[in-house]
């Protein structure tokens, strides 16, 4: 599955267990984030054992988007049996500043830097 607009792209791969986000996500509030939230919820509710979230090419994310990612991580944490990997890039400013918070929400989450 793929969501694509002029400014961002969300791609699912590896039998849906990898989600890749690209571009700039600055949508206005939760209503506009709904299609992405739905995609995240489907992944959490499927029977995957491991989820990889690839953010390396996500150059901008606003705080509403940070909230969406955080909620996704909390839902995975609540499932207790899903392994979570987040791939980030040190070259993207917001990631260096804010990604560590996802690990605080879910200490078993693996943060892989590139």
């Amino acid at each position: 599955m793929e969501i694509k607009t002029d400014s961002y792209r969300v791609i699912q791969a590896d039998e849906n267990s990898t989600i890749k986000l690209e571009g700039a996500l600055r949508l206005s509030g939760m209503e506009e984030y709904a299609p992405i939230v739905d995609l995240f919820n489907q992944v959490v509710d499927s029977s995957v054992e491991k989820i990889t979230l690839d953010l390396r090419e996500l150059e901008f994310l606003n705080s509403s988007g940070i909230n969406v990612l955080s909620k996704f991580v909390i839902k995975i944490r609540q499932k207790q049996n899903i392994q979570m990997i987040v791939q980030g890039s040190q070259k993207v400013a917001w990631q260096g500043k804010s990604l560590k918070n996802l690990q605080r929400l879910m200490p078993t989450l693996q943060l892989k830097w590139e």
Binding site: S28, M30, S63, S64, V92, A93, N101
Partner: protein, 199 residues
């Protein structure tokens, strides 16, 4: 009547470089204007980042210019999103953002009007932001937000500037003596750029 929260200082025009962008709130509906927040934020970021050196592109580390660009873009975008979202629709006061560049720090100032009712809830949030531990407040906000199905406001924008970017926030709230009571809110964000390089 003017009330200040945190260490709010007015900028006096000296030799520092600054940029200001103003928006007339009545001109275009909020939804259509949303894209402008990102464009304006990127413009401020691109403009000011040229004052900082770009380092070796081969390095794995982020260079100072890209870090500054990303940081200015994030903060300016969040401030504009808030200003557009909470601006009092009955007021025709313009919304504006100003960014000042000093040798060792940056100052963002965003002004918009808010309703007296909005000002009450804002004052509560300001007290939390000024006096509570930012990391606990951040995690607590994320956990609380995750329990809500419908969320109008994440409450993360200003908090992330403090917690993730080490910014210092302060506010000026001014009650205007008009027929319809109106508050003018200025949010000030100060960010150290020590070590970013020469200006």
């Amino acid at each position: 009547m003017i009330t200040l929260y945190g260490d709010f200082v007015e900028e006096t025009l000296g030799e520092q470089a600054y940029l200001a962008i103003g928006f007339s709130p009545s001109s275009v509906p909020l939804k259509q204007r949303w894209r402008n927040n990102g464009l304006s934020a990127d413009f401020l970021a691109d403009y000011f980042s040229t004052f900082f050196p770009a380092a070796d592109q081969e390095s794995d580390e982020i260079n100072q210019r890209d870090e500054l660009r990303g940081t200015v873009s994030y903060i300016a975008n969040e401030l504009l999103e808030n200003a557009m979202k909470f601006n009092y629709e009955r007021s025709s006061y313009p919304i504006n953002i100003r960014l000042y560049l000093y040798p060792d720090h940056l100052v963002f100032l965003v002004t918009n009007s808010i309703s007296p009712k909005q000002a009450e809830s804002l004052q509560k949030r300001i007290q939390q932001l000024l006096h509570e531990d930012s990391e606990s407040l951040y995690l607590q906000t994320l956990e609380q937000n995750a329990e809500q199905d419908i969320l109008e406001c994440s409450g993360l924008g200003l908090l992330s500037m403090i917690n993730d970017y080490g910014a210092k926030l302060s506010w000026k709230l001014e009650l205007l003596p008009l027929e319809i009571p109106l508050m003018l809110l200025t949010t000030r964000v100060e960010l150290a750029v020590d070590g970013f390089g020469a200006y």
